[in-house]
């Protein structure tokens, strides 16, 4: 069972501090939602957790091991990361893009193993994009493209999945579909940490909500513990009459 421990993380870009003393712990099967206004430090926290940015202070541990101390490929097998910017340089075929999730397992000058092929197939099924096989990614709608990128992340079979706003710019139905896929991969034993703006979906799908503002963790816990009326007013500058409720939308076949 995997365990993610972030403790007292501080980080800076070009000397400007963007993360102060952020701590968070999550276990296998949990979905953690990072919420907060733009510039709150959510992406930076995800980068530190992904070993892409070395914290200036504090520790990021996966199963007790420092994430920045892991070798590149070893880390890439255990931690999958979906950036907010999902642009693709070339007009790749859908299955080729998903196959990139297996890049950390590829041996130089060797073909993909049957295990790789199986992981790609099941990731494409999980993200419901099997019918898009052979299509070019630049010919897809944003919703389809989001699921293709998600399938790429799932294909790695990582213990820790980091998603930076995976449902930004998606319609309500696609938002729900992505959240269902995320929930399902946590059920299979992954730790999912995601930055998300849709508070009602965070309340509904996350086991643990972390409210961030100006580089600091302002509150965390279950959705009800974390997203209090005072904090909503203070951090987001919004009031929710009758309190924040989980999204009641559901998928119709």
């Amino acid at each position: 069972m995997s365990q993610l421990e972030l403790s007292g993380l501080c980080a800076q870009y070009d000397g400007a501090p963007v993360l102060h003393e952020a701590s968070l712990s999550a276990g296998a099967g949990q979905v953690v939602a990072l919420v907060g206004p733009n510039g709150a430090g959510k992406s930076t926290l995800l980068r530190c957790a992904g070993g892409l940015l070395a914290p200036s202070q504090g520790q990021a541990l996966l199963d007790g091991q420092a994430i920045t101390a892991l070798a590149d490929r070893g880390r890439a097998r255990r931690i999958a990361y979906l950036a907010a910017d999902t642009s693709v340089a070339w007009s790749l075929e859908v299955e080729r893009l998903v196959a990139l999730g297996r890049a950390p397992f590829l041996q130089p000058l060797r073909r993909m193993s049957t295990e790789d092929e199986a992981a790609i197939t099941s990731a494409m099924e999980a993200a419901d994009i099997t019918h898009l096989t052979g299509r070019r990614v630049d010919s897809l709608s944003s919703g389809e493209r989001a699921r293709v990128h998600l399938a790429r992340v799932l294909a790695t079979g990582a213990d820790l999945i980091l998603l930076d706003e995976p449902i930004a710019a998606l319609d309500p139905r696609h938002q729900l579909r992505v959240m269902e896929i995320v929930r399902a991969s946590a059920r299979q034993g992954a730790i999912v940490v995601m930055a998300i703006h849709a508070l009602d979906l965070a309340v509904r799908y996350a086991d643990h909500v972390v409210v961030m503002d100006e580089g600091r963790v302002r509150a965390q816990g279950s959705a009800h513990e974390a997203l209090t009326a005072e904090l909503l007013a203070d951090v987001f500058g919004i009031a929710v009459d009758g309190g924040l409720k989980p999204s009641a939308a559901r998928l119709i076949d």
Partner: protein, 328 residues
């Protein structure tokens, strides 16, 4: 790439190299090839053995180096406009050769020019890596490459400006136009290891180019060691291109056009494009070299670099027009 496409490409390379070996305006060498196969010696067989074989081999190698490095650089920079010129290798190798020509070092040994060109390329790359720094982004690297090219080009222009007489100037100008007409076995022995080493390095790291399609940060999250990849791409290109410039002069557009042409056959995968581009570059440069011989008038040689530019530039305009508004 589908195997029938690959077989067709290999066939094309063989035909192009054979054509480069045997085609001449007077058709003399076809008979000589027959003599060579029968083990008879003639003027034709000596021309083949001493001049044409090294020329055909160099043509294929130089083209392969340019094609492979074009594909690698386009993949690395995620930009279909990248070509071997972009990292400043062509210009700095050219400067090395021009320095050797200017100071008359060719008089010491015929290999002085290629050696100076290779050294120039190496210095250019060292300068580039120093300028860009260890953690440079692609943009910084491109800017550094442009800067290195600018410095090398200005120095080249200065040396041409300072040429003591028109003949010295002409020598430099002709060299810069690029040619395989003086190819010999010494040049093959000098350039082949450089080009093969560079191309091999690029082939070895090519799998990292696919994750890079998703951007540098995502590539890192997929286990790509970016500083190492950048070093391998720059050094590999420097060897593959510098080795070619050293013996053939600056030859443009091969590294730009060939990956473009072949990209549809590999479903746009940058990693899969590398080897086919090496083959395509070999075929195209060999055919272009045949073209220079057929189109040269008596006493007025058509230079290889001029021909590839004449063919490549309009073709590139067409490519730009036909891919407008689509992801490559």
């Amino acid at each position: 790439m589908k195997s029938r496409h690959l077989i067709a490409l290999v066939g094309l390379v063989i035909l192009a190299v054979l054509a480069n070996l045997l085609v001449s305006r007077d058709g003399l060498l076809l008979g000589a090839f027959g003599d060579l196969l029968r083990g008879e010696e003639s003027l034709g067989t000596r021309i083949l053995a001493e001049l044409r074989f090294p020329r055909a081999i160099l043509g294929a190698l130089v083209g392969a180096g340019l094609g492979a490095s074009g594909a690698a650089l386009q993949g690395f920079f995620r930009n279909p406009l990248a070509d071997p010129g972009i990292v400043g290798v062509s210009a700095s190798s050219g400067l090395g050769a021009v320095i050797a020509l200017y100071f008359g070092l060719a008089g010491i040994s015929l290999l002085m020019i290629p050696m100076a060109a290779a050294l120039g390329g190496l210095v250019g790359v060292g300068f580039l890596l120093l300028l860009a720094g260890r953690r440079a982004s692609s943009t910084t690297l491109i800017l550094s490459g442009v800067a290195v090219s600018a410095v090398a080009s200005s120095m080249t222009a200065l040396l041409m400006n300072l040429s003591p007489n028109p003949w010295a100037l002409a020598e430099i100008a002709y060299w810069l136009m690029g040619s395989l007409a003086d190819a010999n076995w010494n040049e093959v022995r000098f350039a082949a290891p450089l080009i093969l080493a560079g191309t091999t390095l690029l082939v070895l790291v090519r799998n990292d180019l696919d994750p890079l399609s998703l951007g540098e940060e995502t590539a890192r999250s997929l286990g790509v060691n970016l500083p190492w990849l950048r070093l391998a791409i720059v050094l590999g290109s420097a060897l593959a291109v510098g080795g070619g410039v050293a013996v053939a002069g600056a030859i443009g557009f091969i590294g730009l056009v060939v990956p473009h042409l072949l990209r549809p056959f590999v479903a746009s995968r940058p990693a899969a494009l590398l080897l086919p581009s090496a083959l395509g570059g070999a075929a195209l440069l060999s055919l272009a070299d045949v073209g220079t011989r057929l189109l040269s008038g008596p006493g007025i040689p058509l230079y290889l670099g001029v021909l590839t530019a004449l063919l490549g530039a309009p073709f590139f305009v067409w490519l730009v027009r036909s891919t407008q508004g689509r992801a490559p």
